[in-house]
């Protein structure tokens, strides 16, 4: 009884008595934070370990209203904690860090943080954090009006799932399951809209399945992104039991995505323009690809979804030379391998609609394990090819996958050998007439060599690819068998891409076929792979591969080649909470970092000018 009274008193006096969990490994900051929060009249619990925090949160979900966590912690990454809390407990989380780097802040946002505070924390800022709790509660009620009870029903007072939080969680959950079963998502989506009765709502959530998102994007495209208002989108989508609030929160996130992508795309555009290959369609491809983050890129007129759907956002950066051109059906590859100066000159006879590019992608099944690779193909000859994305050539088409002779220039450093990746992530579709096979084989070899990368700067081992070319030469246009799979083990093209991408790639029957094909070739490549990281390709200079500096650690998200190719490094395979945005951010940050590095002030510029006093004291 006493407890109830206390609880009710707390709630009445909200924000007084709001229960905050503070997590920071730095004891100085933790003590300071605790004292500040107590001064704001919150009820504070502190811990210096993220794992302990999670335990506390898990044992009683209603115990806390808000979590404040440091970003850099030894036992667990703050962003990871953030995601987990958002997913499991749906509480608002505020990030705290001494580092106010834009990319970190962005990362926080994309991982779902309600706020990002910089150290030193001021009491004025802490006085306002209760707003995040209230905001969530409000959205929570609205959003749950039309949704059926979902996975995690919990008491209303503890329920912190805001509208955005909902969508966020759903998106994440969706991504996790994407590869497993798309239908499952859709089923859940349908179920999600059954219950109309608010009074029986437990914690219904709107599941933004691929289907739903596709409709959403179609509606947005139809209205035009500027004019897209939730009400009209809702009308266009014509989905039962979807509320305007659901759409509104989803739209908000969508806009965030677009903004982010367009920034990246702009940078890419600049690079491309500088390289003289600007092709807006590619950029669009790229940006649309990034939308793949939202359960696949659906609804873009220009692109057929099938191929894109699975593109991990990182593919955005790439000009996805897409599987379509490559004739790889349903290849969820994130990007294209930069093929150096891919010139069509030598291959005018080839089907112009084919893109000359390799798509190093992780196949669905293996995507989870592996690293989606996205490499920008700098000069894709065929603009038209872009429009063919999604239309995968059938086996009997004589279109060849043209690999320009200039691919020879592309230096590859071998294949990274990542056993986890298993089957290829690199699939090149070779189809074509026999007379072209030889050429293709050679090109393929070169191209393949471009795909592999070694950790060091060494160049590719062309010899090792020969067997492949032989194999390719021998096998004619057998679409299934030849789903041009050149197996490159995981890292090759991509090094490490944030895992989130992987899960976003839906399972695809075609991919499975490819996988099978790839398996055959797998052995060939295993021996050539020895690392799972790669340096950036420098296509301008075939003999040099430049490493971007941020290539050492496994966590480095991306590397920007000299020619502006973007290559992503995915984190090691394994579990992860899918978050495509992360990869985009990493890319953007890597780009910015490179810029910064060029213009970095030298040490010593901070000067102190007050040493004189020392002698006096």
């Amino acid at each position: 009884m006493t407890v109830e009274r206390i609880v009710s008193e707390r709630k009445d006096q909200f924000p007084v008595g709001m229960r905050v969990l503070a997590v920071d490994d730095d004891p100085t900051c933790l003590l300071l934070l605790e004292t500040l929060l107590r001064r704001c009249q919150y009820h504070v619990t502190t811990t210096s370990q993220a794992i302990t925090a999670l335990k506390m949160l898990r044992e009683n979900k209603n115990k806390f209203d808000l979590v404040i966590s440091d970003v850099h912690m030894p036992d667990m990454d703050g962003f990871k904690l953030l995601e987990l809390v958002g997913l499991e407990m749906d509480l608002p989380v505020i990030m705290l860090s001494a580092n106010g780097d834009t990319k970190l802040v962005m990362k926080g946002i994309t991982h779902g943080a309600c706020d990002y505070l910089l150290k030193p924390v001021r009491i004025e800022e802490l006085k306002n954090i209760w707003q995040h709790v209230v905001r969530r509660k409000k959205f929570d009620r609205k959003d749950r009006n039309n949704s059926d009870s979902q996975d995690k029903p919990h008491a209303d007072s503890g329920g912190e799932a805001a509208g955005i939080g909902n969508a966020d969680n759903n998106v994440k959950v969706n991504k996790k399951r994407k590869d497993q079963n798309e239908d499952e998502d859709e089923d859940r989506d349908e179920d999600g809209h059954d219950n109309d009765d608010p009074s029986t709502q437990k914690k219904p959530r709107v599941v933004w399945s691929v289907e739903l998102h596709r409709k959403f994007v179609a509606a947005v495209n139809q209205l035009g992104i500027d004019k897209a208002v939730p009400k009209r989108i809702l009308e266009l989508m014509n989905v039962e039991k979807l509320t305007r609030e659901n759409v509104a929160s989803h739209l908000q996130k969508f806009r965030l995505y677009l903004k982010r992508i367009s920034c990246v795309a702009n940078q890419q555009a600049n690079m491309v323009a500088a390289l003289g290959t600007a092709d807006s369609s590619y950029l669009r491809m790229g940006s649309l690809n990034g939308l793949g983050n939202f359960h696949a890129l659906a609804g873009t007129d220009q692109f057929h979804n099938a191929a894109f759907r699975s593109f991990p956002p990182s593919g955005v950066l790439g000009r996805l030379n897409t599987p379509a051109g490559l004739g790889i059906r349903g290849l969820p590859s994130p990007g294209t391998i930069p093929l150096g100066h891919v010139q069509n000159s030598g291959h005018s006879s080839n089907d112009p609609s084919k893109l000359q590019s390799f798509i190093p992608g992780n196949h669905n099944a293996n995507i989870l394990q592996g690293m989606p690779m996205s490499l920008e193909l700098d000069q894709l000859q065929n603009n038209k090819g872009v429009s063919h994305i999604g239309e995968l050539p059938v086996a009997n088409s004589t279109s060849v996958f043209p690999v320009p002779g200039s691919l020879m220039d592309a230096r590859i450093t071998g294949f990274s050998n990542n056993p986890i990746l298993g089957v290829t992530s690199n699939s090149l579709m070779l189809e074509g007439s026999s007379q072209q096979t030889a050429l293709h084989a050679r090109n393929l070899r070169d191209g393949v060599s471009a795909i592999g990368f070694q950790n060091g700067n060494t160049l590719s081992d062309f010899a090792s690819i020969d067997p492949v070319s032989h194999q390719l030469r021998d096998s004619k246009a057998d679409l299934q068998g030849q789903a041009a799979s050149i197996n490159c083990n995981a890292g090759q093209i991509m090094t490490r891409v944030p895992q989130e991408w992987n899960s976003s790639i839906p399972a695809n029957g075609a991919m499975i076929q490819l996988d099978q094909c790839l398996d055959q070739n797998n052995s060939i490549f295993h021996r050539t792979m020895d690392s799972d990281s790669m340096g950036p390709l420098n296509f301008g200079d075939p003999l040099s591969i430049k490493h971007s500096e941020a290539n050492n650690s496994a966590m480095e998200p991306s590397v920007i080649g000299k020619e502006g190719y973007l290559m992503y490094q995915s984190r090691t395979q394994g579990n992860h909470i899918p978050d495509n945005i992360g990869s985009l951010e990493d890319l953007a940050s890597a780009m910015m970092k490179q810029d910064q590095d060029n213009g970095k002030p030298t040490y010593g510029s901070f000067g102190h000018n007050s040493y004189s006093h020392r002698t006096c004291i």
Binding site: D26, T28, C29, T35, A98, P120, Y603, H608, S610
Partner: protein, 156 residues
């Protein structure tokens, strides 16, 4: 006499603080710390600062050992330590230390070992200086507490 001493001690405190603020060694954040000190947490400032000293010495030792390792300078790890040092220093209000950390971080991001070494030396220097000054401050405050504890029949 002691009444005068109390005044003197108060003056000393103010002078020291003014000096530290003026030289940019401390900033407003330190004031916030002082404002958090009240009856419920009477020794808050010294408590926090002592924790800060304890942690900082660990961090400085780690940084030095990382830098002394000639074969492989782990700049990432350095960055992590630096980040924590920066966070705690700025939370305390140790402005100059924080600024040196910023420069240190810049050097480490460029893998500039010489720069990092210079920054580390400067950091150690600044840290020692701050520690001395803050200890002085606490001593004065302790004396003030003692002085205030003495009552004279006619003291105002």
């Amino acid at each position: 006499m002691l009444g005068l001493a109390a005044d003197r001690l108060r003056a000393d405190t103010n002078r020291l603080l003014a000096f530290l603020f003026h030289q940019g060694i401390l900033d407003e954040q330190f004031l916030q710390l002082q404002q958090l000190e009240d009856e419920s947490s009477p020794n808050f400032v010294s408590e926090v600062v002592n924790i800060y000293f304890h942690e900082s010495e660990k961090l400085l030792r780690n940084l030095r050992s990382l830098l002394m390792d000639r074969e492989l300078s782990d700049y990432n790890k350095m960055g992590i330590h630096l980040n924590q040092f920066m966070g705690s220093s700025s939370s305390i209000g140790a402005k100059r230390i924080r600024n040196v950390c910023v420069a240190f971080r810049a050097a480490s991001e460029q893998n500039n070992r010489a720069g990092c070494l210079r920054a580390l030396e400067l950091l150690e220097h600044e840290y020692c200086f701050l520690k001395n000054k803050l200890h002085e401050l606490f001593q004065i405050q302790q004396q003030r507490v003692l002085a205030a504890g003495v009552r004279y029949p006619m003291q105002n």
